[in-house]
């Protein structure tokens, strides 16, 4: 138990912008925290709030959702729809007591490899400071199921 806490973060990203940005960060040999598991999706419009709940259900300490900047969506307006959805979903999380610091949203384009790397580093440090998401993990423990992330 004395192992230092390593946050587990799940990132849902769109393949056209943020994933390409992550790729760029990689090919540019930028170093970023290894705590993030990236799930690539066709568009931020495809990212259902259910995904975020699933990540938490599996024991994530933080969730990151990222896609193209407004106006850059490969499908022209998937990210506008996503933006509305997140606005409402955030209000819901907030009202039910899920700290918003654990669920982050961002726009990262294919050219922003540096932003991606920095963003991941900042978030990882941020979540590390907040510590494990114990209040949710208690819910998982109550189910007797293991958190398998």
């Amino acid at each position: 138990m004395s192992e230092p806490f390593e946050p587990k973060i799940v990132a849902f990203v769109c393949t056209y912008c943020t994933y390409a940005g992550a790729d760029l960060a990689g090919t540019s040999r930028l170093k970023y925290a290894p705590n993030v598991r990236i799930v690539r999706l066709p568009c931020t419009g495809r990212i259902s709030p259910m995904f975020i709940l699933k990540a938490l259900q599996k024991g994530a300490d933080g969730v990151l959702v990222s896609g193209c900047h407004p106006g850059d969506c490969h499908f022209t307006h998937g990210n506008y729809h996503a933006r509305r959805r997140w606005t409402v979903f955030r209000a819901l999380l907030e009202f039910t007591g899920i700290p918003l610091e654990r669920v982050k949203f961002s726009w990262i384009s294919a050219a922003e490899g540096v932003k991606f790397a920095e963003f991941i580093n900042t978030i990882t440090e941020d979540i590390r400071k907040q510590g494990p998401f114990d209040q949710y993990k208690q819910l998982i423990r109550d189910t007797e199921s293991p958190a398998t992330l």
């Binding site: 189910t143 007797e144 199921s145 293991p146 398998t148």
Partner: protein
């Protein structure tokens, strides 16, 4: 002279039972909902409830019960079983209809195959029932040939005193006697009279309704459609019912590890009987309501010689659209006249 348990001794009783390793559960109202939950102080009991909103069933057949934990490695499956707890407990302040409900389900859970999750808990539990001195518009135990002070399923029957200061004690089973031996010296001999039991009017002619249900041609009667028209297909009647026992088995986890659970399920849900092919033997809400009534008052008695209903009236009391067994059986008895 009868033996009396005075209410002011209740805290001492709780203490005694606790030191004997027995936990106590009773009717409790908290965060705006009532049910049977753990009690440590007498003040936590709420004996004024006509009936707790949630039935006693959940203490024997929890709404979600872990059965098995599995871990899968390459070419190996390790499982461990969850067992029902073996600790002794007393449920103090059970309503007679709830106690009777448990007795109704015993044959079902023991029918050829014993469900140890149920019976383990049944063996470890002493039911201390308090006779009802008040009832509401939905109580219907008398229609089911039970009474507000019926002994069915109980280990101890308490009758509230007229001045509400305690209860007359009637020991019904050895298990009950055993539990009350621990507090024997806290009981007092007294002449205090018991309060009259609640008056519960008979709401329908059970025999007539049963006879109607037995007639094969009534299975497809138009009655079912009419009576169930406003049913919205939620499961609140079945989940609050002390005798409804249907369940689902669900796995939670992934390919490597997780657990298998037994969860309450309800015949009101469309998916309950849906085949993988898409065919659903009970595809309409009327068919599902018919199943519920038939199961309780025709199939169950046919198998176990018992009606699967103890007359608690929760189905009607809590129904979002004011349906319930009472109305259906009332209407049924009218059909015969």
């Amino acid at each position: 002279m009868t033996r009396i348990l005075f209410a002011d001794k209740l805290d001492n009783c709780l203490e005694r039972w606790r030191s004997a390793g027995i936990s106590v559960i009773g009717p409790v109202k908290k965060s705006n909902s009532s049910g049977y939950s753990a009690v440590t102080k007498a003040a936590e009991f709420d004996f004024n409830l006509v009936l707790p909103e949630r039935s006693i069933k959940e203490l024997f057949f929890p709404q979600s019960e872990p059965l098995m934990r599995y871990e899968i490695k390459k070419q190996e499956i390790n499982t461990s079983e969850f067992k029902a707890p073996t600790s002794e407990r007393i449920i103090f302040g059970v309503r007679p209809c709830d106690a009777a409900g448990l007795a109704i389900d015993d044959p079902l859970f023991g029918w050829d195959y014993q469900d140890e999750y149920w019976f383990q808990r049944r063996r470890e539990t002493v039911l201390v029932t308090i006779a009802c001195t008040k009832a509401d518009d939905f109580c219907m135990c008398t229609s089911l040939k039970l009474t507000p002070d019926s002994e069915k399923g109980s280990d101890i029957l308490l009758r509230p005193l007229e001045n509400n200061s305690g209860w007359q004690v009637e020991e019904l089973t050895d298990r009950g006697r055993e539990a009350f031996k621990i507090i024997a010296d806290l009981l007092q001999e007294s002449q205090e009279k018991a309060a009259p039991t609640a008056v519960v009017e008979e709401k329908f002619d059970l025999e007539a309704a049963l006879a109607w249900l037995k007639e094969p041609e009534n299975f497809e009667s138009h009655f079912w459609k009419e009576i169930s028209m406003r049913c919205i297909g939620c499961g609140s009647c079945t989940f609050l019912c002390p005798t409804c026992h249907c369940f689902d088995i669900q796995d939670e986890g992934d390919t490597y590890s997780g657990i298998r659970r037994k969860n309450w399920d309800s015949c009101s849900f469309a998916l309950f009987t849906m085949h993988t092919s898409g065919h659903n033997p009970r595809s309409t809400q009327s068919a599902r309501w018919r199943q519920r009534i038939m199961h309780k008052f025709n199939y169950f008695p046919g198998k176990f010689n018992l009606n699967s209903c103890s007359g608690c009236g929760r189905c009607s009391r809590q129904c979002p659209v004011d349906m319930g067994i009472t109305e259906t059986l009332q209407e049924l008895s009218k059909l015969l006249r």
